[in-house]
């Protein structure tokens, strides 16, 4: 802590030399030309990537302009084959699909059959652990983290790596295709329980990947929007339920501080809840709205958990803190205990009050 830092610049200064040789200094006009050429050149080389970035923007006039401009640029670079340079490099390093926009949902067409309550609940033990997958948007981050911490302590639950993807949802597969992602996770990891949480980025009328001939969506919550969003929510559930015996926990959205956003989350929650109800015995809906604000209480970032006040919501009024994630995890474990016999050290239920 007592010596002066020794930097390259200081070393040069000690030798009586300027920080950079004077011959390296250039007029600012040269730099501006170089910067403009660099941006133009990179735009041409990256035209496909720019187009994908434009397409995946939130809906609005800005997106329309960006799509039009980058679409034209992409058409020119495709015609002149300039885009092949980036594509060639991408293919050579195994990233050939990076600029592809995949909005195909490939959802199952049949709703998973209901299952009557089993006389004997499936048994899991430290020898045969229950594998649980946690996937969703940024709200899942802390819920998944809490499950990663609490789940293994039970000795009977194995938690797959937390699969949250920030700024994603079910309405924009062009941005992130959750349907393909879940399909590939199920194939590679084969979990016993799939826990999903979406909604914060789906409070919008715009959807990509619409089926051909689907009715036109005019606004968030209209009949066309609801039909399509239900298809996606139910489709995600059915994707997971293609394996017999697998169980889905759909985590609903908690109350939001912003009243406009909250009204939309209430609508989304009603869809999650009713789609879960269509698949009794196989999908459980976790009502986090009630969990964080019991008895219809107004929004609060705090919650009294077992007598101690905890900050359960982030200051943005949307996201969940790690303490909040632990509350949700406790509720998930409670649901799992109702459905499975878990021969492990399950934590006791939490007492929650506002």
């Amino acid at each position: 802590m007592t010596d002066e830092p020794t930097t390259d610049e200081e070393r040069r200064a000690r030798r009586g030399r300027p920080a950079e040789p004077r011959s390296n200094l250039r007029p600012i006009g040269h730099a501006m030309i170089a910067a403009l050429v660099a941006l133009a050149f990179a735009s041409v080389l990256d035209a496909r990537a720019l187009y994908k970035s434009a397409v995946t923007q939130p809906d609005g006039p800005g997106r329309d302009v960006a799509v039009a401009v980058t679409g034209a640029l992409q058409a020119v670079t495709n015609f002149t084959q300039v885009s092949q340079l980036r594509q060639g490099v991408a293919s050579a390093i195994g990233m050939g699909d990076k600029d592809t926009i995949d909005t195909n949902l490939n959802l199952p067409v049949k709703t998973a059959a209901a299952v009557p309550p089993a006389a004997i609940k499936p048994i899991f033990s430290p020898q045969k652990k229950l594998k649980i997958y946690m996937g969703g948007d940024s709200l899942m981050e802390t819920v998944g983290m809490a499950m990663e911490q609490i789940g293994p302590r039970t000795g009977v639950i194995k938690v797959e790596p937390n699969d949250f993807h920030i700024s994603t949802g079910l309405n924009r597969p062009d941005n992130f295709n959750w349907f393909n992602n879940l399909r590939s996770i199920l194939a590679s990891e084969n979990p016993d329980v799939v826990t999903l949480m979406f909604g914060d980025n789906d409070a919008d009328a715009f959807m990509s990947g619409m089926a051909a001939g689907a009715p036109q969506i005019q606004s968030f919550g209209d009949a066309a929007w609801e039909q399509e969003y239900r298809r996606r929510v139910g489709g995600m559930m059915d994707l997971a339920l293609q394996k017999p015996g697998r169980f889905v926990v759909w985590v609903g959205e908690p109350q939001m501080e912003n009243s406009d956003l909250n009204a939309k989350q209430v609508k989304l929650n009603s869809i999650y809840k009713s789609e879960a109800a269509k698949r009794p015995g196989r999908v459980a809906y976790l009502d986090t709205y009630e969990l964080f604000t019991p008895g219809g209480a107004p929004y609060s970032a705090n919650l009294t958990v077992d007598g101690a006040t905890k900050l359960v919501r982030e200051p943005d009024g949307e996201h969940i803190t790690l303490d909040g994630g632990a509350v949700v995890t406790g509720a998930i474990l409670k649901i799992l205990q109702e459905h499975f016999t878990l021969q492990g050290a399950l934590p006791p239920s939490l007492s929650l009050t506002q």
Binding site: D3, N24, P315
Partner: protein, 474 residues
């Protein structure tokens, strides 16, 4: 507004030429640069701009009041008030919930029932950085090392957008004198600027992001991985945080150079350090010297005997740890580094007392010291990265208990990213100088083509969207 975004490119393409056009009229330039910086900052939240403006007015007020009095008592009282106000603002936004939560836990364990005093606030981006810069301005004036400048110059100094949100932490004597006379547009260090921006962008967007994808799941659930994977994740995090933070400040320094201003270097190949003392002279250098000049030396530095030196080091590092965030993990991180520095100082004084020599600039002993230093720094980073002390201890324990656990493979990309960044720590500086020399001699069009291909590769290897930046939380 983050540097590696389309919005910032548009912003900078407007601000950059106007900066040079207005440069000759100093007053207009100051108003323009202040307005541009406030637009940059308000892009996060307009209320942040009010906070920055408030900090500017308050600190300038104290500085002017201090300069107008010769009474030492009054000057000291004014300084104390400045420190209380600045640290009070910082404490409210950054530390209130931490201390309240810790206090409530202690009182709760003792059986007292206390009402919740937690507040629902957003931490203003960069508040730790500009608060420290404002403090250095007022303290330098108190010490007589610097005279108050005009409010417009001080406002530009504090809000200058390249350093505003993540440093480097600049001292007034380094930046304010550069405002007059204006920089000469015929001789600008553009080659270094482009090298810093392109290199910083690559480190931030490609290296840090690639490593974060590997590090995050392992730190999230270490018991699901083998000891080998956890060990590589610990090394990977050391590289990730370096790439992330040094990449961002390299871009800041490069952007300032394109505007004609020189900001201090913030990183100097820290992982090539052969002692912890050397590491702290090379890592986040502007914070280290701030802590040294405004905390360690005023505490007495090494002037009051060996024991006081060690106590001063520990205090400085503990507070330096807490500066990074309101969590006990940062306190432990600071304590570990303080302890390491104390041992380092003790070791050197013992060697000097015995008439021993410093290790040679190269050779096995020095390489051994570099290896030890790097591993100690990596160990401390575990506490920096984890959310809880128990989580960090659990992860460290896992390093020794799961060597035979089946685990996912470590990708070649992760190993390449670690190796590439470590290699840059040991490459001779003259290689960079020679490359910059060649680059500066080619035409602007050719320079643009080289930079264009570099941008394309960075974009290709990086993720879609904007990667989060670790140091914003500080």
């Amino acid at each position: 507004m983050l540097f590696p975004t389309f919005t910032f490119v548009v912003f900078f393409l407007i601000v950059w030429p106007l900066n040079w056009v207005l440069m000759r009229n100093r007053e207009r330039w100051r108003i323009f640069m202040m307005a541009a910086s406030y637009v940059f900052y308000a892009a996060w939240d307009w209320r942040f701009a009010l906070l920055l403006a408030g900090s500017t007015v308050i600190n300038q007020g104290f500085a002017v009041a201090m300069s107008r009095t010769t009474q030492q008592k009054r000057r000291t009282a004014l300084l104390a008030a400045t420190v209380v106000v600045n640290l009070g603002i910082l404490a409210y936004f950054k530390y209130w919930n931490f201390f309240v939560d810790s206090g409530q836990t202690v009182l709760g364990n003792l059986g007292f029932e206390v009402p919740s005093l937690l507040v629902d606030t957003v931490l203003p981006v960069g508040i730790s950085f500009f608060t420290f810069m404002a403090l250095s301005y007022v303290i330098d004036i108190y010490r007589g090392d610097y005279k108050p400048t005009t409010i417009s110059k001080f406002a530009v100094f504090l809000s200058f957008f390249p350093h505003l949100v993540a440093g480097p932490i600049v001292r007034p004597a380094e930046l304010v004198p550069q405002f007059d006379p204006p920089p000469d547009p015929r001789y600008v260090d553009t080659t270094r600027a482009f090298a810093l921006i392109a290199g910083g962008l690559f480190k931030k967007v490609v290296i840090a992001t690639a490593l974060a994808r590997f590090v995050d799941p392992v730190f999230g659930a270490p018991d699901q991985y083998s000891s080998l994977v956890v060990l590589v994740a610990v090394y990977a995090y050391a590289i990730q945080i370096y790439a992330d933070f040094s990449g961002y400040t390299d871009m800041a320094i490069g952007i300032a150079l394109l505007l004609g201003f020189r900001l201090p270097q913030n990183f100097n190949r820290p992982y090539a350090s052969s002692s912890l003392r050397e590491f702290w002279r090379r890592w986040h250098m502007t914070l280290s010297r701030w802590l040294r000049d405004y905390l360690y030396i005023p505490l007495g530095g090494n002037r009051k005997g060996r024991l006081r030196t060690y106590i001063n080091i520990m205090l400085t590092m503990l507070l330096g740890g807490l500066w990074h965030g309101a969590s006990w993990t940062f306190v432990v991180w600071g304590a570990l580094n303080g302890l390491g520095l104390v041992v380092d100082h003790w070791w050197v004084s013992r060697r000097e007392a015995r008439g021993g020599k410093e290790p040679a600039a190269s050779g096995p002993r020095r390489w051994g010291m570099i290896f030890l230093t790097f591993n100690f720094v990596c160990l401390a980073w575990v506490f920096f990265r984890e959310d809880t002390i128990s989580g960090a201890v659990q992860l460290l324990g896992h390093l020794f208990t799961a060597w035979d656990k089946p685990s996912p493979q470590i990708s070649v990309g992760v190993l390449l990213a670690i190796a590439a960044l470590l290699l840059t720590q040991f490459s001779p500086p003259r290689i960079g100088e020679q490359l910059r020399g060649v680059f500066s001699q080619i035409s602007p069009i050719a320079q643009g083509a080289v930079l264009g291909v570099t941008l394309m590769l960075t974009n290709l290897l990086g993720p879609y969207g904007v990667a989060p930046f670790i140091y914003f939380q500080f």
